[in-house]
Symmetry: C2
Subunit: 744 residues, 2 copies
Amino acid sequence: MVMLALILSPAKAQDPASFVNPFIGTSNFGATFPGPIVPWGMVSVVPYNVTPHEGNEYSNTDSWCSNPYVYNNSLMTGFSHVNLSGVGCPDLGSIILMPTTGELEVDFNKYGTPLSEEVARPGYYSAFLDRYAIKAEATATTRTGLSRYTFPEGQSNILLNLGHGLTNESGAFMKMVSDSEVEGYKLMGTFCYNPDAVVPVYFVVKFSKPAKKHGYWKKQPRLPGARHQWSSTSGKFKIYEKYFRELAGEQIGGWFTFDTEKGETIQAKVGISYVSIENARENLNAEQSGFDFEGTAQKARDSWNKQLSKIEVEGGTKADKTKFYTALYHLLIHPNILQDVNGEYPAMESSEILKAEKGNRHTVFSLWDTYRNVHPFLTLVYPKQQTDMLRSMVEMYKESGWLPKWELYSRETHVMNGDPALIVLADSYLRGLKDFDIETAYEGMMKSATSPGSVNFLRPDNDFYMENHYIPFRDSFDNSVSQALEFYVADYSLAQLAKAMGKKDDYKMLYERSLGYKKYFDPEYDLLRPVEEDGSFMPGFDPMQGENFEPVHGFHEGNSWQYSFSVPHDVKGLTKLMGGKKRFVQQLEKTFRDSLYDMGNEPDMGYPYLFNYVKGEEWRSQRTVRDCVDRYFHTGPGGLPGNDDTGTMSAWLMYSMMGFYPITPGDPMYTLSSPVFDKVTIHLDDEYFANDRIVIETENNSADNIYIQKTEMGGKPLRKFFISHEELIREGGLKFYLGDEPAK
Amino acid sequence: MVMLALILSPAKAQDPASFVNPFIGTSNFGATFPGPIVPWGMVSVVPYNVTPHEGNEYSNTDSWCSNPYVYNNSLMTGFSHVNLSGVGCPDLGSIILMPTTGELEVDFNKYGTPLSEEVARPGYYSAFLDRYAIKAEATATTRTGLSRYTFPEGQSNILLNLGHGLTNESGAFMKMVSDSEVEGYKLMGTFCYNPDAVVPVYFVVKFSKPAKKHGYWKKQPRLPGARHQWSSTSGKFKIYEKYFRELAGEQIGGWFTFDTEKGETIQAKVGISYVSIENARENLNAEQSGFDFEGTAQKARDSWNKQLSKIEVEGGTKADKTKFYTALYHLLIHPNILQDVNGEYPAMESSEILKAEKGNRHTVFSLWDTYRNVHPFLTLVYPKQQTDMLRSMVEMYKESGWLPKWELYSRETHVMNGDPALIVLADSYLRGLKDFDIETAYEGMMKSATSPGSVNFLRPDNDFYMENHYIPFRDSFDNSVSQALEFYVADYSLAQLAKAMGKKDDYKMLYERSLGYKKYFDPEYDLLRPVEEDGSFMPGFDPMQGENFEPVHGFHEGNSWQYSFSVPHDVKGLTKLMGGKKRFVQQLEKTFRDSLYDMGNEPDMGYPYLFNYVKGEEWRSQRTVRDCVDRYFHTGPGGLPGNDDTGTMSAWLMYSMMGFYPITPGDPMYTLSSPVFDKVTIHLDDEYFANDRIVIETENNSADNIYIQKTEMGGKPLRKFFISHEELIREGGLKFYLGDEPAK
C-alpha cells in the first residue's frame, strides 16, 4: 500500500518521470506505445488494439499500421510483450496475454474489449476492460513483464495467444509446464518486406495462481476434400483439454481458467529471451523471483528517474517539460538490451549463441534514422550505453563480416539507404568515445566503403560510385540520389576518422568521394536531380514528384526539395553551387514557405538550422526551429510529426529545446538556436568527459523572446553559431540572452 | 556385396521370409503397406502414394483412404516413417522423406513421381523414381528407418516434409542441427474422428553426406487485408536459406541439396521416438551407429525369419505358403513396440514419461478386432510378446484408470464397441499366460464392468445394461445391439476368469448378463432385432438394412444377419431360440447362400465354423471355411477381403489354413476344420507351455479333399470337433485324414 501510494504520488523533485506522458506519439503514426518498459528494456507490456474491428480506425490489415497500439482505436485484444517503438514497419507486437471472463472464447476476432480509464506512466499502465469488468495493470523489468488482473466473481480466463500479433512471420511452439506455467517460442521477422529477417522469440509465462483448468487451442487448417467432413475441427478453433505435451502450429495459444472471487487478483509474469526457453526462465527468475507488482512497478519508475535525471530542466511550461521528458523517455527505448542475464545473445546473421564479455549487447539499430542525432545525444549524455552500442556494432561486424545498417534482433533487414554505421562509429569516436575496438571497426568501415558491389552486403551499387562518385539513375523510381547522399555523409564521416587516425590516403580518397554530390546539382533548378550513367541529367525531372510517399525517380520517401540541402558536410560548397548566400537562403526559405519541408522524415531534419551557415541570417534558424518545436510537437497522442524513428524525432526536439544541434554527422560540433528552458543541466559522466556537467542558461526567456541577442561561453561572449563538442564540455555550458526581435 | 547377394538370394530352408509378399493387402482396402519394418517395429519406411493427383485412384482426400500406400496408385510423394498397417482410419503416415533432382520444389502437390521396378520383401523395399531417375531403397530397425538413394549426376535434393501425411492433426517443429542432421516433431492423431487422441512423434534425421546447401520451407498462411501485399511470401511456400534456428508451423519442411556424381548414393537414417527428440537420437545411435545399408537390411530379414520360423508348413502350393507367411508377417506388425531403447514411453492418457521395468511396452491395440483371434494366436505362438502386451494393457489401466479399448500411442481413441480388453486378458490367462498382474487386471476389468455409466470411460451406457442386461434402442442408427453383443462376450470372458479365480458371485452375475442377448431374439425373423427401453421390439425392423456401410438401426457397420450369430459363448442357446438345429443350420446356410456374409468384417468372422455346433453338419464348416480361404484370400495386392484390421484377417486365414480356430473368446478351446497343409509344426516356447511343439499332420490332402474323414490326437481317434487349448498342447498336435466327400 505504501508502494502504491508512491506510484500514484504527484510530481516531486527528482521525479522527471512525472512529466512523461507515454501516450504522446500513439496517434498520427508516431508509432510509440503507452505500455510499461524500463530504459533500454527488452520487454514491454503493451495494450494491443490494432486488430481489424469496428471502432478500430487503424488496423494492422487495413492501413499501414506498424505499431501494436493506436490511441484512436477502441478495441483491445491483449497485451503484447515484445514491441518496437516508433518504427515504420510492423513486427514483433507478439506474445500476447489476454484476460477475459465467462465462457472460453479463443478467437481474437471475437474476444476484444473496449478499454476505459487508461493510465500510462513510466513503468506502469492500467486500464479497465469494459466488456469483462477486469482491471488490468502492467509493469516491466529489463527482460520480463508483469501483469495484474483484478477479476469479477465467476469464471475468469487468461489466454496466451501466439497466433496473434504484428509480425508477418508465422509459426509458434508451446508446452505446458504445469497448471500455472507455460513455455515456448514464436517466430517473428520479415520487418519491412525482408523475408530473410527471421527471429525466434522465446518465453516463459507463470501465473500467481494455479489454473482450475488449462489447455491449448489451435485454429486447425481446413482439410482438403472429403477429409474436411471426417474431422470435426477442420478449419475451426480446436480446444485441447487433455493434451499437454508439445504443441506447434500457426494460430495456436494456451488457455487457463480460474474460479475467481469478486476483486480477486491474479498476476502473470512473462520472461523473454532471444536465445532459448531456458534463458527466458533464467531471466524471469533473476528479475522477478516472486509476484511483487508494487515493488516491480516502483523499481521500473526508479530506473526511469535515474536516467531521466541526467538532464534537469528549469523554466518552460509544464507542456514544455512534458514534451522534453517524454522525448527523452522515447529516446531511451532503442537500441535496447539483447543479451540475457547470463550474457548470452544470438550472433549477428548466424545461428550461433555467444556470450557478451564486456558491457551489454544492444539491438534494434535503425541507423539511417539515428545516426543524425540519437547517437550524438547518447554519446554526450549516456556515454556508457553508447559505448556498449558501439561495441555491439563492432561485434556484429566480427560475427557477420559486415557492420549493421538496420539491425533487428541480430538480423540485417536492409531497410533504408546508405551505410550509416560508419557515421555513428566515426562520430562517436571523434566526440571522445574511444573505449571500443577502433581498429576492427575501421577495418569493417573500410570494407563496406571499398568492397566491389558484387560482394558488398551493404553497398551493392558500390562499383560505379567508387569510380564516379555518384550513383546513376537506372530504373524508374530508384533511390539513386538518396542512396548517394547517404554514401557522401558516410564517407565524409569515415574520412574525418581516417584523418584523426593518421590515414591520410584514406582520408583524401573518401573526402573526395563525399563531394560527388555536386554532380547532381542542376543550376536550372538549384536543386539536386538524378543523373544518368553518361553523366547527363535524367530527363523529365519534376522536383515536386514524391510528395506523400508517391513513387519518385531518384529519391526515397521524399522529393528533391527534401534532399537537396542534405549535404551537411559541405553546406558552403552547396551555397556556392547555388550562386551564393542570397540564393541559398531564398531556396531554403521557399522550402518552408511552400510547405515543401517534411518534419516527419529525416533527410530534411537539419534544414531549420541551415540558415546558421549564412552570417546575419541565423535569426531565421531560431525562428524556424522554434516554429517546428511548437508546430509539430505537442503533448497530445498526435504530438509527434510521424514515426518517432526509434527516438530520432524525440532527439531533434530535445536538442532544439536545449538550443544546440549536431548539424554535421562526423563533425563533432553543434550549431545553436534559442533554448526553450531557462536552465538546462546535463550531468556528464566524468569517466568519459573532462567535466561533470554542462549548464545552459537563458536570460530573458519567454514565448515571444525566441531570438538570440547574444551568447556567452565560459563567461565570455561567443561570437559564432557553431561550437565544438569539446569546447562545450570544457567550458561547461552556454548562456543565451534572448529578445523578441532578431539581433542586428 | 556378399550381403546384397544374400538379400537377393531365392527361397531356401529356414527362409520363410522368401514366401512373404508385402504387396498383399495393398489394394482392395486391405490397408497394409509394402515398406520395410521389423517384427513389432515402431518404424516402417513406406512409399507414400495417396496424394490427390491424376493417376492416383485412391487419395487421402477424395475417398476413404486410411493408408499411405495403395497398389493401384501411380504417383508417390515420399517415404513416410510412421505408419499403421491394416487399419480403417487415416493417421500417422508422416515424417516423409522425398529425394528429387534438379531445381528445388517443395510443394508435394508438384514434386510427385511415378514409380517403377518396385520390389518389396521383409525388411527391404526398392523402386525407381521415374521422374528423377533415382533408385530408392529402404530398410528398417525397430525404432529407425534407413533409406539409400542412388542419384544421377547434377543437383540432387532430399526433402523432409512435415506438412504432408495421413494424419488429420496439424503442426510440427524442426531444427537444423547441422548440414547433415535435423531434428523435430510432428503432431499426429484424431484417429477415427477423435480430436482428443493427439500424439507427438519425435525424430532425428541424419544424412551420410553433408548438404551443399540446406534450409527450411514453410507454406505461409495468407495474410489478411493489406498485409498480403506487404509480404512477398503471404500464401506461398517460403524458402528459408539463412535461418537455421527453431522452426514451427503447419506446412513446414527441411531441404538439403547435394552435388552428386552419376550413381552416387546418399543414405538417410531416421530415428523415431514418442517420448522426446533426445530419445529419438538415442534410438538412432543405438540401432544404427553408422550407415550400413546391406547389414541393416540383412538384420531386418533375419529378424523376420526368426519369428516366421516359429511355424513351419509343408505341402500346399507356393501360393498357399505365400498367403500363410504373408498373413503371419502382417500379424506381427501390431501391437508394436512403443518404448525407446532406454525403456521410456509416454504414459496412457497423460503427459508423463515412464520407464518400462519388465518386458516391452506395446501400442496400437485394435482390440475389438484382435481379441477374436490375433491375441489367441500370439498367446500360443508368441507367448513372451503376448505377455508383454498383457502387461502393457494392465499398465495402461494403472496409468489412466481404465483398460484400453482402441489404444493408439497411449491415447484411447474410443473406436468401435464393447469392452474388449477384458476378453484378451481373460482369454490369455485361461490359456495359460499368467505372468502378469492378474489381481490389478481383474480390478480394472471389474471397474469397467460394474461402474455406473456416468463415470464409466469405457461403458457410458452401462446403467441400463447392468440392470436389464441389454442396451435399448434409443436413437436412429445407434449401435445398441452391436454394443450389447460385445458386452456379452466381454462379460462372459470375465465370468470365466472369475470362476477360475474362485470369485463365484462375480461369475454368476457376469454370466447371467452374457445371456441377455436372448432379449434381442425375434422369432418372427429368427434374428436379433433392436429392443426399446420398455422391452418391445423396435418397429420398422429391416434385417437387410445396413449393407455397404449404410446407416442401420442398432447395428454397427453391418446388418442383423451379420450379427445374429455373434454369440460365440452360447451357440447352443441361440440354436434353441431358433427352434432347433435344423432351423439354425438353415439360417446359417442362408447367410452364405444369399451373400449376407461379410468376410471383411469381424462380427461374422466365426460364422463358417458354427456348423460344427450341429452334429453331422460339420462338413458344412469344412466346406465354408475352405471356400472363404480360397475366395477371399489370394496372393495379389487385393488378396485380403478389406482392412486387415492389424492382423485379424490374417489370423483368421492362418488358423483356417492350419485346421483349427479359437471360436469362443474366453473359452480356451478350438474348433476344427480341414488343414490346407500336409504338415504344420508350431514351435512352442516351453517356458510357457508343457510342450515344445504342436504338429498338425494331414493325410490325403489335395485341392478336392477338403472334408475331414477322421481325426486323431495323440495317436488316438478324436471323435469331436472341439478340443481344448490345453489338450492340443499336451498331446502335441493333431492328425487329419481328408477326403473329397463329407464323412458319414
